[in-house]
């Protein structure tokens, strides 16, 4: 299949239409949605497997041989995409339809159908407007896949904005009592950030893209372009010193990079732009939260690793400390805030802010291992936080409350739930051997070995404090909710539903598998990081 | 041959009458009819200039305009019918549920 990525994006879109049209009853809607989501998951899993060098007859016949394509035939090295598509869109103004999958996008994109499928299964008993609910989940899946696959700034931006629409409705229709406030806040907050990002895209387009395009493609008359691969390649050659013409000068890089940075860290989110997140999460339905935290936040991180590190190496060398400071502050600050939360879901939401701090810090190290760790942390956080948000949904479902002070002794009445909660919490606090330990460890290794941090190395102690505080709030929460005697009103709480158990089982197995075999994910990520310009390879 | 100015004056009169109807009538059907008058004024202008400058494209636009006017009337009437069914009136003063 030559257009495998297009098909990949079309599957959930067709699923969205099919669910909307066919889903007269709840049963039909959820089955149609599940089938399409599973289809995308299967296809994307095949793609991911090619990154491990696993080629099976099935994969060969479905995907064709792995392409390992260079974006332009005239290039000799650099960024390679396992799957790559290019078509003219509005070529006169440099807008093209470019899709590509490499070691950065594939693992993150894989989370999308996985978590969508599990969200559909988790909402197996959704009775409130099921047709729209499942259809919107698929629409969200489509736009998220598009964000990770798009390699043209304009296409990227369109998908980036499309994501907001289904999420706005998911929060606004199926949310909690304060859903209108939360949905509006989410939409406006992230939309403003997107606008500033759009300004940067245009600034990049008008000031520099023509020269860069000419230098990289070797065509003197090449006009301005939105093509990301051109910038990536130009930055790479610039750092290698083989770019004939000059790359974007630092004075231009810095303001453009700051605009992008703002767009990304609001999405991520990072202190002090994180307050939309707890509100959105508290109000969002479980499936929405799972996708919001599991994949949507990763768009910000993806942008940091693709755009900031890939295209603005000079500016990053100057401004790494901004990212580092934001990351470190987010980690410590969120950990302390978590300690005081009484709503389980709010606690988990704040913990996401803290864990995303590792992503920013990893990028700021400008070392190979730190960057790998940052990307890996996004993947791990996607798995873990999905479990945690599902848990918050389950406990609300079973007991009618998420207030930690009202929960007690759940081990007795909800043993399966308690087991999953423990696994999720321990994975989230970075217990060695489970998945997020590795990514946090890699980020710390990067921070410790980063030449940029020389002289600031003592600062590593601050995020280490956050590890202790993180452990504290999780263990404290477990002590209060799981242990002790069961209060009267919880005695009849039911344990997990079968479909819930299934969703948890998949994620828990993945958490353990990635914990035992982290190289399976780090391998593809490493392929991408190896081509990034301007990183220091430590020890 | 009728001078162009006469036709333009007629068109302007038609337009003004139609505009008055749109602004002043309370019954939605009357408003719609007035709207048709406004469109016809525009079509008349097209035809007038077309014959004045011997250019057939004005007449093409006139035909398009008639088609739009027909569609416009059909949709407008459908909407008013639907409003009448749900609200029991087509009085423009009472139909104010667009206001929030």
């Amino acid at each position: 299949m030559t257009y495998v990525l297009t098909v990949l994006i079309l599957i959930p879109f067709v699923g969205f239409l099919a669910t909307w049209i066919l889903g007269r009853t709840q049963k039909i809607a959820k089955w149609v949605a599940l089938v399409f989501s599973l289809a995308q998951l299967a296809l994307l899993s095949l793609i991911l497997m090619t990154f491990w060098g696993v080629s099976s007859p099935v994969a060969e016949s479905v995907l064709g041989p792995a392409q390992n394509a260079l974006p332009f035939a005239s290039w000799t090295g650099g960024y390679q995409f396992h799957y790559f598509e290019r078509a003219g869109w509005v070529p006169q103004v440099g807008m093209n339809y470019i899709l590509g999958f490499d070691g950065l996008s594939a693992p993150l994109a894989w989370l999308t159908p996985l978590l969508t499928t599990l969200a559909i299964i988790f909402h197996w008993d959704e009775e409130h407007r099921p047709r729209e609910f499942f259809a919107l989940l698929l629409f969200l899946e489509m736009s998220l896949t598009g964000v990770f696959a798009a390699l043209d700034f304009f296409l990227f931006f369109i998908f980036w904005e499309l994501v907001l629409i289904p999420m706005f409705f998911l929060i606004g229709i199926w949310g909690g009592p304060n859903r209108r406030y939360a949905a509006l806040k989410f939409l406006i907050y992230t939309h403003v950030a997107s606008m500033i990002m759009l300004l940067s895209i245009f600034a990049l387009y008008y000031t520099s893209s023509a020269g860069v395009n000419a230098a990289v493609t070797g065509v003197a008359t090449a006009g301005p372009t939105f093509d990301m691969t051109v910038f990536l390649e130009a930055a790479r050659r610039h750092m290698l010193g083989t770019l004939g013409g000059l790359y974007i000068p630092l004075a231009t890089q810095v303001p453009i990079m700051l605009g992008f940075l703002f767009g990304f860290i609001v999405k991520l989110p990072s202190f002090p732009f994180h307050t939309w997140l707890p509100d959105a999460h508290v109000e969002a339905p479980t499936g929405g939260s799972v996708l919001l935290a599991g994949v949507l936040l990763k768009m910000g991180g993806y942008g940091i690793f693709r755009v900031l590190l890939g295209m603005f190496p000079d500016a990053m060398k100057e401004l790494w400390w901004v990212l580092a400071a934001l990351g470190i502050i987010s980690m410590v600050y969120a950990a302390f805030v978590c300690l005081h939360q009484t709503d389980l879901k709010r606690l988990i939401a704040y913990s996401s802010v803290g864990h995303m701090g590792f992503v920013t810090l990893g990028a700021a190290t400008l070392t190979t291992i730190g960057v790998e760790g940052g990307i890996f942390q996004m993947f791990n956080h996607g798995l873990i936080t999905a479990v945690l948000f599902m848990l918050a949904g389950s406990v609300k479902h079973a007991t009618g409350t998420r207030e930690i002070p009202k929960l007690q002794g759940l081990t007795k009445v909800m043993p399966q739930f308690s087991l999953v909660l423990m696994i999720g919490f321990f994975a989230s606090l970075g217990l060695p051997g489970l998945n997020s330990f590795w990514s946090e460890f890699m980020v710390f290794l990067g921070t410790f070995s980063s030449p940029a941090f020389a002289g600031w190395r003592v600062l590593v102690i601050i995020p280490l404090v956050s590890i202790v505080v993180t452990a504290a709030y999780y263990v404290y929460t477990m002590q209060r909710t799981l242990f002790g005697d069961v209060p009267k009103d919880l005695e009849h709480a039911h344990d997990l539903m079968p479909w819930e158990t299934f969703s948890y089982a998949v994620l828990v197995i993945l958490i353990f598998a990635v914990g035992f075999l982290p190289f399976a994910v780090v391998g593809p990520i490493g392929q991408y990081v190896a081509t990034l310009p301007g990183l220091t390879r430590v020890v | 041959m009728i001078p162009l100015e006469w036709e333009l004056v007629l068109s302007a009169l038609l337009f003004s009458i139609g505009l008055y109807g749109v602004l002043a009538r309370k019954n939605a059907i009357m408003v719609l009819m007035s709207l048709e008058v406004v469109i016809n004024a525009a079509i008349l202008n097209f035809v007038a200039f077309s014959s004045y400058s011997n250019d057939a494209s004005g007449q093409v636009f006139a035909l398009l305009g008639i088609a739009v006017a027909a569609a416009d009337a059909a949709i407008g009437l459908a909407i008013f019918l639907s409003i009448y069914q749900t609200h029991g009136t087509v009085d423009m003063d009472r139909v104010r549920f667009l206001r929030w």
Binding site: C338, H340, A530 | -
Partner: protein, 718 residues
């Protein structure tokens, strides 16, 4: 594949099974445990039996392969790559899972699997009436896998991973009776306090990786190792790294100032206290510090001797020396049988750290005075590991006997025990053995190792007088140890029974491990003779360092030192006897005649020497112990609590800040937008015609403007 055919595999491949067997037992007990008898006990015991047999086989192999003569070449067992180095596939700087077999790890494997086996067997009887047995057996199986992995890891990171698995199991098992709030609290405390140590450990690992690009303790032809490159560290880092590793050890082994969790951890089942909080997990800190000897006594680098990290050595010895006495004093005033043993464990672990510290000091001194690295006197190191080995047996025994007693009388309070000797003869005798070993009475095991530690401490003291203080602390503790050990035994088994019900001897599955461990209180001490000296068996450098047999062939001064420590122990024993045994003689019998009354008075007061002792004991000594206890609860624990409260306050503050300031700014912007919107929406009447009026008006204005401007330009614009 059966265990027998595994042995046919080349090399040491079977060692993996030692780790994997309990891991499979963990999965099986968790999944199908409730279907088997005793809720998974046969599975857990089966798994650990395989580990035990294979560990013994490995041990024999290592011994035959030259372990006794010091010629055993350590073996690496490559596993798989956890994290690929950079770039992927280059094989550069991979972080791998692999096992490292040398004398120390072979010994630790046997020790751990043997104790796990005995305690699992004991659990059959002890946990018989409990609910949640599958959970229990699954967790202890996972724990044993964690401990076996810790002692066989080839590198610091793998050690940390398994170390945390143990910590997790410790957390789960302390909270085994999760419905008890104290248990839940104790579990949390244990996890949090050890976590503080773990973070220090993690920082140490980060620095090591940063400096060496490898985490292996030792290298060989195909593996990069740290030991041979330690000399390239700066002096500051050379001090810092072992201190950070020691930080982890302090948390795990409950040393001052991170000791507060261990007494509380006694909320778990007694078997757990015996296994995790006495015999194995808390020893991991000692094991780690022993592995940190590659930093404490650095190998020559590029042919030049490296300055040893004196500060780190002093801190380790100092913490050890101080904690011995500190913990022992607290043990003296406690009435909870398990807490006495917990304080005792802290104190005994501190002995091991003291031994490692002074041992490192002696070796480092020799090293800097020009002795060749291979000929260093590793007596302190050996003595500490020897004490670890002995203590594992006798402290497990003490806890298990305590468990047997608790099982019989249903309380932990020693004031409600007494006279159990008659009802529980086997428990009574085996516990006596344990107490004798703990107290360090010849020929029980504690005597040999504790005496060695103290004699090395004395030797260090002759070089640097600071270390003499540690020797003194250790000797005083030896006295206290004997005292509280026998106070415990006498209060439990002697005198009259003060509790309710009719206690009876425990079932055979419980007494059987007691008898075996009781025998080991003798065997483990004397085994050094069979080995030709314990140090012959466990050594730190690549070649064998001289270390004589206990009591035989040592310098004369050593006899004097041994006598001092034995004397201290005996004094403690005697004191316990005086205080807790004889004062229970009923007074009335002697008070019938005036002469008798006087005699009685004199005798009961033992010529009032007892009163002097008592006064001293009750006022000064118990007072001091109480003060220590108070210090422990109020100051040390108080700081922990205050930090916790401070953390909560900071959390509340940042929460307030977040809600009102950060979020407030966001809300202000949105409110302003809404307010202007409210004003503008007045204009939205919803009447299409009024909108149309506005449009027409606008057009008129626009047209007027255009004409106006045109007119203006025509008239004045030229």
């Amino acid at each position: 594949m059966s265990a027998a055919s595994l042995l046919l595999l080349p090399g040491y491949t079977f060692v993996w099974v030692i780790l994997i067997a309990p891991l499979i037992a963990f999965l099986l007990s968790a999944l199908v445990g409730r279907r088997t008898v005793e809720g998974g006990a046969p599975i857990a015991i089966g798994g650990i039996s395989i580990s035990l047999l294979l560990s013994l086989y490995l041990f024999i192999q290592v011994m035959l392969g030259g372990g006794l003569g010091g010629n055993f070449n350590p073996v690496f067992l490559d596993g798989y790559v956890w994290l690929p180095g950079f770039p992927a596939g280059s094989g550069f700087n991979n972080i791998v899972i692999e096992l490292y077999i040398d004398d120390l790890s072979a010994l630790m494997l046997v020790l751990v699997s043997f104790l796990c086996f005995l305690i699992f067997v004991y659990s059959i009887g002890y946990m018989h009436h409990e609910e949640g047995k599958p959970r229990y057996y699954a967790e202890v199986s996972l724990f044993s896998a964690g401990m076996l992995g810790t002692v066989s890891a080839s590198n610091f990171l793998q050690l940390l991973v398994f170390w945390e698995i143990m910590g997790l199991c410790s957390y789960l098992l302390i909270g085994f009776w999760y419905h008890k709030p104290e248990a839940a609290k104790a579990a949390k405390k244990a996890f949090m306090v050890t976590r503080v140590g773990d973070v220090l450990f993690l920082v140490g690992v980060l620095i090591i990786w940063n400096q060496f690009g490898t985490l292996n303790f030792y290298g060989d032809a195909t593996h990069l190792g740290i030991a041979s490159q330690v000399g390239k560290l700066s002096p500051e880092l050379l001090n810092l790294i072992p201190l950070l590793l020691f930080g982890g050890a302090v948390g795990k082994s409950a040393q001052f100032p991170l000791h507060a969790w261990l007494p509380d951890a006694m909320e778990g089942p007694t078997t757990v206290s015996a296994l995790i909080h006495a015999a194995t997990m808390v020893k991991a800190g000692v094991y780690l510090t022993a592995r940190a000897f590659i930093f404490l006594v650095p190998m020559p680098y590029q042919g030049l001797a490296v300055t040893p990290p004196w500060t780190a050595i002093l801190v380790i010895a100092g913490i050890g020396g101080f904690t011995t006495l500190f913990a022992a004093t607290m043990a003296v005033v406690n009435f909870d049988i398990k807490r006495v043993l917990a304080f005792s464990t802290i104190s005994q672990l501190a002995y091991m750290f003291l031994g490692l510290g002074v041992g490192a000091f002696v070796m480092a001194t020799e090293l800097s005075s020009g002795t060749a690295y291979a000929n260093l006197d590793s007596a302190g190191y050996s003595a500490a590991i020897y004490h670890l080995y002995n203590h594992a047996f006798f402290k497990a025994l003490l806890f298990l006997t305590a468990g047997s007693v608790i099982h019989a009388v249903g309380t932990n309070d020693m004031r409600q025990m007494g006279g159990l000797r008659k009802h529980m003869p086997i428990t009574s005798i085996t516990m006596l053995f344990g107490c004798l070993a703990l107290a360090g009475i010849v020929p029980f095991s504690g005597f040999f190792s504790k005496g060695e530690i103290l004699s090395v401490a004395f030797e260090a003291g002759t070089i640097n007088s600071v270390y003499m203080v540690f020797w003194l602390l250790g000797t005083v503790t030896a006295f206290l140890t004997a005292f509280y050990a026998f106070r415990l035994w006498l209060m439990t088994f002697h005198g009259e029974y003060r509790g309710q019900g009719h206690p009876h001897e425990s079932p055979r599955s419980m007494t059987f491990p007691l008898i075996i461990l009781g025998a080991f209180t003798l065997v483990s001490g004397l085994s050094a003779y069979a080995m030709g000296g314990f140090g012959n068996f466990i050594f730190v450098t690549g070649t064998h360092a001289e270390y004589a047999l206990p009591l035989i062939g040592v310098p004369l001064s050593d006899y004097g030192l041994e006598a001092i420590s034995l004397g201290a122990a005996l004094a403690g024993l005697a004191l316990a006897w005086l205080v807790y045994e004889t004062k229970r003689i009923p007074a009335e019998r002697f008070t019938r005649s005036p002469t008798g009354a006087f005699l009685h008075k004199m005798l009961t007061h033992r010529y009032w020497i007892d009163d002097v002792y008592d006064a001293f004991g009750a006022r000064v000594y118990v007072g001091f112990a109480k003060a220590m206890d108070w210090f422990d609860r109020r100051v040390v624990d108080g700081i922990v609590n205050a930090v916790g409260r401070g953390g909560l306050a900071a959390a509340a503050g940042s929460d307030y800040f977040d809600r009102h300031v950060v979020d407030g700014a966001v809300n202000l912007v949105s409110k302003e937008a809404i307010r202007s919107g409210m004003r503008l929406r007045q204009r939205q009447t919803g009447q299409v015609q009024s909108y149309a009026w506005v449009v027409v008006f606008g057009i008129v204005v626009l047209v007027a403007l255009i004409f106006g401007i045109g007119l203006y330009l025509r008239l004045w614009g030229g």
